[in-house]
């Protein structure tokens, strides 16, 4: 099955960059999935604009 690598794979005689689409056997696809090679990297969490940290309250 055709899979798209989300991170580079350098093992088993293969040397592929991230983003490469390869047509692999079902067992290889399962192995790549288990290794996290087909998962999209988690999106970066960005702070919404205007959000500020609440100031710590101080006891008087």
């Amino acid at each position: 099955m055709k899979v798209k690598l989300e991170k580079p794979y350098k093992a088993d005689g293969w040397n592929w960059p991230a983003g490469k689409v390869v047509n692999v056997s079902n067992k290889f696809a399962a192995k790549l999935k288990d290794g996290g090679y087909l998962d999209k990297p988690a999106p970066k969490v960005t702070k919404p604009k205007g959000e500020t940290k609440p100031k710590p309250t101080t006891e008087e």
């Binding site: 093992a11 005689g13 047509n23 067992k27 290889f28």
Partner: protein, 148 residues
């Protein structure tokens, strides 16, 4: 998915190979492929066989052949196969039915074998496609399994 019903379209049969088990990649631009299983026989004919030969099964063997179109930039095409043959690499091969898609069709059966390239040929005529053909002699047991 369920087992495919009816007569299989030959174009659905694909060959995947690699140098590590369960790390097989499709052989690009294949036009024809076949797998052949053979059983030698032992002749056990005696005077009491009634004039008819009697046999028992002996050594089993198998080979896989394919031919295709040559492309420099293809995956698992002639360039890579030459390297494997010269290196004497043990190759792991899946001979499977992908149906109409790219993935092997779960519920159908496939061959899962390993072996060595014993013959590789590239042919170039005039104003025609450059082609290649390969024969792989299988070592060890031939596994026929249900596609998961």
């Amino acid at each position: 998915m369920a087992q495919t019903t009816g007569i299989i379209n030959a174009s659905s049969i694909r060959v995947f190979l690699g140098t590590t088990d369960d790390s097989e990649v499709v052989v690009d631009h294949v036009t024809e492929c076949s797998i052949s299983l053979n059983t030698d026989i032992r002749d056990i004919t005696t005077k009491t066989s009634g004039g008819w030969r009697e046999i028992l099964p002996a050594l089993k063997s198998a080979s896989l052949s394919l031919s295709g179109l040559f492309a420099e930039d293809a995956t698992n095409n002639f360039n890579q196969l030459v390297d494997h043959q010269i290196a004497g690499a043990l190759l792991y091969v899946v001979f499977t039915n992908t149906g109409t898609g790219d993935a092997a069709n779960s519920g159908d059966e496939q061959f899962d074998v390993s072996g060595y390239i014993t013959s590789l040929e590239q042919t170039a005529g005039t104003e025609d496609n450059v082609t290649f053909s390969m024969t792989l002699e299988i070592t060890g047991a031939v596994v026929r399994e249900v596609i998961a």
